[in-house]
Amino acid sequence: MHDMTVVELSRLQFALTALYHFLFVPLTLGMSFMLAAMETVYVITGRDIYKHIVQFWSKLFLINFALGVATGLTMEFEFGTNWSFYSSFVGDIFGAPLAIEGLMAFFLESTFVGLMVFGWDRLRPGQHLAVTYLVALGSNLSALWILIANSFMQMPEGAHFNPATMRMELTSLSELIFSHDAQAKFVHTSIAGYVTAAVFVAGVSAWYLLKNRHVELARRSFRMAVLFGVLATAGVITLGDALGFVGAQAQPTKLAAMEGLWKTEPAPMPFNLIAFPSQTYQTNYGAIQVPYALSLLVTHSFTGSVPGINQLEAEANLRIRDGIPAVAALKTLSTDPDDAGAQAIFHAHEKNLGYGFLVQRYAPDISLVTDAQIDAAAHDAIPQVAPVFWSFRLMVAFGLAMLAYFVLAVIYTMRNIVERKRWFLLVALWMIPVPFLACEMGWLVAELGRQPWTVFGVLPTWMSASTHSVGYMVFSLIGFVTLYTAFIIVEMYLMVRTIRRGPDDIHGAPASHTSQAERLAGYAEG
């Protein structure tokens, strides 16, 4: 039996380490392709400044990359160390994409990143460009397989439960790979990385323009970053909607929490722009609503409706009652796999096995389950609304803000007047944290919204954790917090130092070729 304190501490540790890891991943995903774009210009035009640009940004890329790799190791370990039941229960499905990630993507990325750093003098420009593209492809393919694995947790497809082995087993790899959730989630996450990198590069470039340093490098980087960013942001928003549309069908509880939808309402449903949800009273305070908008957003029609929390909790109650015989039959099958009666009962109730597990938290001996315990478990089937509701709104607000920022940035840079808009350069600098926060919010929506499940409808979170002692968990939490705090301080210091010193430090000669007079002539024209 599980100690619930250990489960909560395991969740906390996973959330902290995953959110931390996800500070570095998006920048890697986007910056690798942005380096490829910059190097493409170098190879096509042969202008040295673009080589300097690539080499400068790749310095920052690598400082970030090292910590991404390091903290990625933690994630690889943590399923086994802290979520051992999860690992054995769905490892047959979940392990495969992780292993394929190593085979197809991580090797590609890691082998060629070495050549990207050390190969400048040993490879022809075209070869080095190919290496840079392979690093970008590798890191994004890596994200692809991780997100295929994650999408199984969100929308378990291509798998079934096998009582003979007491676990979920793969039935179709292609269903797993091409699940709608996986498709939308990968593209949403990958290009959220592009947005992150674009804001980062544009922000650092804006700082140089403000300080009037490395102007030629900064102008070019800014132009390329904001063009990269404006398209990527439009894509992220599109895919965010697609993901919401898929998710609405796959996980109605997450959708209800995202929208603060306590009661089922007839179509057309209004959208809660702002509200303060109360889990205790199952209602929203201070709601500002936009009529019709929710139906339009989540069902793409005026007549669509989605179930509210009251209805979902009632449905969960029925499903738990239906799942209880499945758990009882499974226990019989664990000692006598050939018991025909138990097999028949199991298959009749198999669909709701996960819901049966949900109530086992309160009734370890499922044959003694009470109505009160079933009610409590049904109540658990709804995630905490307020954090999901607000993470979602912040993410969307950040996304829209970045779209507006990039559109304006494109106008300024295409007219070559951005250097004169000092207020805007300051905005660009202060935008840097925004995409990182938006990415973190996205993770929170996806993972908090899926609770109380690790695999939606199949495996409850409380069962998934390893059976450690509280002491072990406190030990590991202290260790992670200490190490990770030290790492982020070192990383930020090196980042800021490298940015402050700028590219001149690296290449001796200043990267500026255009004279001040020529640039002023340009201003006059713009």
Binding site: E76, G80, S87, A96, S110, G119, R167, Y472
Partner: protein, 377 residues
């Protein structure tokens, strides 16, 4: 033999191949980390040693990640039970390993000597600790680990952290460390010159001798150790949980496979031959040959352990009946088949482009080149 049992055996062999690749490729980089402060007495000398593996450590490390991923995908119950059971040890392994990427990438970013010294020690720890843990984990497989399963196959580890650091496990840990130091030294010889080369050469000789002695002692130890034997089980290629078998202790059981198939004695011999010939080659300054012979030594050692344990993967010392074997901890037939397909396509591809990367970066690393190269570690 039916398809499922065949796939289970193939994946057991593939896991062995991956562990050998991990030991060779990650082991040599970790060996360089361990001996960094010995072969490099000045900052420049240490940078030479680091830059020999600089272009490759990241790619090599993926063998470790892939090893973990392959256990997860092919033997999920092993991944779940071992990683959670060895919790504290796994954390020490992890925490030391995550310092490594930062050590490489951040060390030479600042000129301060104390900064660089700190990262040198971090690289030392992240070279030494994981290799000791890697060997000690194998040592514990021979003795069994205290764990049991609930009816729904929830695993519980009932031992203490210190129990994992018993004498035999430490012996295996030091054996693993000495092989990693051997490979690290030979790798430094491949890329360095003069005084660094000579220090590495001396160290390679010592490490090879230590490894041979420890491997011999380990063999004698296992000979007298009680092993495990399956008394009754659903057998190979049958969908099952670990709750349906009975397993007994038996003296000398770990040599049963060798006695049944005397040809298997070639494996430990291969290990000894690899170490001895590696020693001779390093002594004769044939460092590239020595590298391959060192890899052969790893192959011999790991294959010996695998052949001895077969078909056990993780025996339970407290509930022997619930010991994990290839047959009761593997993935389903479909998953094993798909994974085999991916491995057949991508492993050759990986070997091909990794070789190309080594080819591009071939040659000696000199102090002058590092001084002139702004990308160097």
């Amino acid at each position: 033999m039916d398809t499922y049992a065949t796939l289970q055996c193939i994946w057991w062999l593939l896991l062995g191949v991956l562990l050998i690749a991990l030991a060779v490729m990650v082991g040599m980089d970790m060996g360089v980390g361990t001996i960094l402060r010995y072969v490099g007495r000045s900052d420049v000398e240490r940078r030479v040693a680091l830059n020999i593996i600089g272009p490759h450590w990241d790619g090599n490390q993926v063998w470790f990640v892939l090893g973990g991923g392959a256990v997860f995908a092919a033997f999920p119950l092993i991944y779940a039970t071992a990683f959670s059971g060895f919790y504290v040890v796994m954390l020490l392994l992890l925490w030391s390993m995550i310092m490594r990427p930062l050590g490489f990438e951040y060390r030479s970013k600042l000129p301060s000597q104390s900064w660089r010294n700190t990262w040198d020690w971090a690289l030392f720890i992240s070279g030494l600790v994981p290799m000791v843990v890697f060997g000690a984990a194998f040592g514990n497989l021979f003795q069994g680990v205290p764990f049991y399963f609930e009816w729904n196959v929830t695993s519980h580890y009932t031992g203490s952290f210190l129990a994992l650091l018993n004498p035999f496990a430490i012996l295996c840990g030091v054996l693993s460390l000495s092989l990693s130091v051997l490979m690290g030294s030979v790798t430094v010889m491949n890329g360095a010159e003069d005084v660094i080369y000579e220090r590495a050469r001396g160290l390679a000789r010592t490490a090879a001798i230590v490894a041979m002695v420890l491997f011999a002692i380990g063999g004698v130890w296992v000979h007298g150790m009680p092993g495990y034997r399956i008394a009754r089980a659903p057998g190979a290629g049958v969908a099952q949980t670990p709750l349906q078998q009975s397993v007994t202790h038996a003296d000398g059981a770990w040599l049963a496979n060798f006695n049944a198939h005397p040809l298997l004695w070639a494996l430990p011999l291969l290990g000894f031959a690899g170490m001895l010939l590696c020693l001779l080659a390093a002594n004769a300054r044939r460092s590239h040959l020595a590298w391959w012979l060192g890899a052969l030594a790893w192959l011999g050692v790991i294959a010996t352990a695998g052949a001895s344990l077969f078909p056990f993967l993780l025996p339970s010392s407290s509930t022997p009946d619930q010991s994990l074997t290839i047959w009761n901890s593997s993935s389903s037939q479909l998953t094993l088949a798909w994974m085999l397909g991916f491995a057949l396509v991508f492993v050759p591809l990986i070997i091909w482009y990794t070789s190309w990367a080594f080819y591009v970066m071939r040659g000696k690393v000199s102090a002058e080149r590092i001084a002139n190269d702004e990308h160097a570690y």
